[in-house]
């Protein structure tokens, strides 16, 4: 049981004190430190990075470049790695697909994707596989998040998977999967969107190739995200978007490109986003990921206990709570997930219903939709209680008389 309450750090709760926000996996709310520092950037340091010789441009360049280093430190990534900023995880995943994968995968090669991958992983890889005549294979999971097959073979060139699945809540055994893929010479695309800001991450213990994330799911502003990758992989990659800033020399007919990571960042970048991202990292560090993860595990364990006591709830994802991230997907017998979400909204409880951008997973699990609660550091035991009460209310509206 946890009695922590950090809503006071988040100004949104001043505006909406009664809100029970349980859609953190879609996007997180922002702590005061993030909104303040972002505003302060515009008031004190706003300028175009990398382009001017004057004071403010130097300042915004410094802030932007410091952001790369802070992301690396936050993930425990050493000098073998580099940060490339993008607007979100989706853009980072498209970047990898269009450059590394496009360049390295040939006809007949295999790209292996975990079936619980987000559409932002699957769709870009589908496009490349089609273009190159490569074969897209899947690692299948059952409703408890257990793998059903092993599709990794000697022909596998790419393995792509979420660190934590946003449709099942499963924390994958990333270390073992990285090893399995590296043993056959494959490169791994690890989608960290639901892991960053939730569990301690230490690249030093792993051999990560590509890691992608979105700032807005880890208390930072919307519009900033990125990838962290081995420099040796980045060095070998052609550009993605092209234009200003990513060049070295441009002549009428030819261009030479900037080095890594600038080569992958075309146009004026989101410095305020990077400032907000650094503030979010500071916020997370001020409590520490161990404490944040413990708090979220306590919420998971409490919510599971409450939900399991209701016979009309079907829960998906691992039984073993240590294999669960900060989200639970479920269905309420007799009520369509969209009706559940709308009825919970009447009680100011915000949850997600639908396919969670994982249609292939839902199809495989033979589910048309599910409900999802997901949470962050600001959520409390009381939020879970209000959520469970709202689920009971939904059953009442649908005419069920439940005895608990």
């Amino acid at each position: 049981m946890t009695t922590m309450n950090h809503k006071g750090d988040f100004p949104i709760y001043e505006t909406h004190p009664g809100m029970v926000y349980l859609d953190h996996a879609a996007t997180s709310h922002k702590p005061d430190i993030v909104t303040r520092r972002t505003e302060s950037y515009y008031k004190t340091s706003n300028s175009s990075p990398h382009r001017g010789a004057y004071l403010l441009s130097v300042k915004s360049t410094e802030l932007y470049d410091r952001g790369r280093k802070e992301v690396l430190d936050f993930l425990g990534a050493d000098e073998r790695y580099s940060t490339v900023f993008t607007k979100n995880a989706t853009e980072a995943l498209n970047l990898i697909a269009q450059t590394h994968v496009m360049e390295n995968v040939k006809a007949g090669d295999e790209i292996c994707v975990s079936i619980d991958a987000h559409h932002s992983v699957i769709v870009p890889l589908q496009l490349v596989a089609k273009r190159k005549g490569a074969i897209l294979k899947y690692l299948y999971l059952d409703r408890t998040g257990t793998f059903e097959n092993d599709a990794i073979t000697a022909k596998t060139k790419i393995l792509a998977l979420p660190w934590i699945s946003n449709g099942l809540g499963k924390i994958h055994d990333v270390k073992a999967l990285l090893k399995r893929a590296h043993d056959v010479g494959a490169v791994v695309i690890l989608d960290g969107a639901q892991a960053i800001g939730h569990i301690p991450i230490d690249f030093a213990e792993l051999d990560v190739d590509f890691f992608t994330f979105s700032g807005h799911k880890m208390y930072a502003p919307q519009g900033i995200g990125g990838l962290v990758a081995k420099k040796e992989l980045l060095e070998a990659m052609p550009p993605f978007l092209t234009g200003g800033d990513m060049i070295e020399y441009v002549t009428e007919q030819t261009t030479t490109y900037a080095g890594v990571p600038e080569r992958f960042e075309a146009g004026t970048q989101n410095v305020a986003g990077v400032v907000g991202l650094m503030a979010a990292i500071d916020y997370i560090k001020s409590y520490g990921l161990t404490k944040i993860h413990e708090h979220e595990m306590a919420l998971t364990s409490y919510a599971l206990e409450k939900l399991k006591a209701l016979p009309f709830i079907e829960i998906y994802g691992p039984e073993d709570i240590s294999k669960r991230g900060a989200l639970i997907t479920f269905n309420v017998e007799g009520i369509h997930p969209h009706d559940v979400a709308s009825l919970l909204d009447e009680k100011w409880v915000s949850i997600r219903a639908g396919h969670h951008c994982t249609q292939p997973l839902m199809k495989h699990l033979e589910l048309s939709a599910s409900c999802r609660v997901s949470y962050g550091f600001y959520n409390t035991i009381e939020d879970i209680d209000k959520f469970v009460d709202a689920v009971k209310y939904a059953r009442e509206v649908f005419g069920y008389v439940d005895v608990y």
Partner: protein, 139 residues
């Protein structure tokens, strides 16, 4: 105000319009891949009049109640009148203004006016109506 009024819950549960329709002249299937609503509207047309209508399939309460209320409304109506009702309904849920006369004609379907403020649910509440529109437009 709750969208889940007694009328909607009654239509969702009664199932009086959810039945096979022998001798249907038109069948139109509609689905929302986003949430898995998958309903088929069956209609029997005779001399430009909707003699009977029913639906089958599965979906959320909003989608099922809305198609069921629609069926009650359009039964025994001339196709042209059904079309007017259908257009008025689709305007209403988009938040567009609808004449008082047409609002009255929508009867129980007026309950769905609130959908104009629930963008995530508009597709549920219009699924059956789009099936009807397709049937009419094909004539």
């Amino acid at each position: 105000m709750s969208m889940y009024t007694e009328t909607i819950m009654w239509h969702n549960q009664s199932g009086h319009n959810k039945r096979p329709l022998e001798g249907a002249t038109h069948v139109e299937r509609g689905n929302n891949p986003n949430c898995g609503d998958d309903l088929s509207l069956e209609v029997t047309l005779e001399n430009g009049v909707i003699k009977d209508a029913a639906f089958s399939g599965s979906g959320c309460a909003i989608s099922q109640a809305s198609i069921s209320i629609m069926i009650d409304l359009i039964k025994d109506k001339a196709v042209m009148d059904a079309k007017k009702i259908c257009d008025a309904y689709l305007s209403m849920v988009k938040g567009e203004s609808v004449s008082e006369e047409m609002v009255d004609a929508l009867e129980d379907a007026q309950i769905f006016e609130g959908l104009s403020k629930m963008p995530a649910r508009v597709k549920c509440g219009t699924l059956g109506w789009h099936c009807l529109k397709t049937v009419i437009n094909q004539l």
